[in-house]
Symmetry: C2
Subunit: 157 residues, 2 copies
């Protein structure tokens, strides 16, 4: 089997790009699992790498860890997830990204029409009117995300 847990935490850290402390945190949060040696050290299955890849992709799309945990619940427990499983649960990310893009475009267009007048009026300018901006950015009522994504850029150092 390749469900044999053989990877140490530092190997998983290196190959996934997550810090070892993050892996411990994810385990506490119920996002990944690890077997233990007799002495209590973690040993990971190779499949954890795909799971971590999914987590990273989801985080890049802007999901919170809570949301990632929810999505992961949709995977089959009895067998190793297939490519089709991963595809299925990440399919709706596209809408999320589309919404985020649309929100930003709306904001940019608002800026374009605002910048000519320098108004920034609380009453009429959609750039600074709290209600207008909120409304244009959150079309579907649910929260729209994308925080970690862009900060994550500095990880590449």
């Amino acid at each position: 089997m390749d469900t044999n847990p053989v990877l140490t935490v530092s190997e998983v850290a290196r190959r996934s790009g997550f810090a070892a402390s993050a892996l411990r945190y994810y385990e506490r949060e119920g996002l990944v699992r690890a077997a233990r040696t007799g002495g209590g050290q973690r040993r990971y299955q190779r499949t954890v790498l795909r799971r971590l890849a999914f987590i990273r992709a989801a985080r890049n799309v802007g999901l919170t860890l809570d949301e990632v945990r929810e999505e992961l619940k949709r995977l089959p427990e009895s067998r190793t997830p297939t490519k089709a499983d991963w595809t299925r649960i990440s399919r709706n990310w596209r809408h999320r990204l589309d919404d985020q893009i649309a929100a930003l475009q709306a904001l940019r267009d608002g800026l374009d029409s605002c910048i000519g007048c320098g108004c920034l009026s609380l009453q009429s300018c959609s750039m600074s009117n709290p209600d207008d901006v909120a409304a244009s950015l959150v079309p579907s009522g649910g929260a729209v995300f994308l925080p970690a994504l862009l900060r994550r850029g500095t990880d590449a150092d």
Copy 2:
């Protein structure tokens, strides 16, 4: 003059959409100023409303408060800022938004090419490869922002 400070904190809160606690915080952080009554209560000039509109717009675009403070330093101190002043300092926000949009579109396109294969491979898939994603999202080397923006939507309740 209309530099006469007459607005109470609750009036400014209502008209700006910021919570009173946020106004106090902004004052501590040096983003806005307020005169005081004999008894120590805040009294704001009407011009603070435009300043707060600018702050909200900047926050919506994704600037941190540190960055907002920097931008505000570019305003003239000796006179009340004109529309042209506000326009001047908000002009480069467009590039920032364009960059953010481009980053998201790149991410979406990566998702499109990934979702067909369900790979999410750490080696080859740009969705989950930490370096690739970082590189594609931060083209100009500087940080790209946009966190508060989308959470801000819930303010409208």
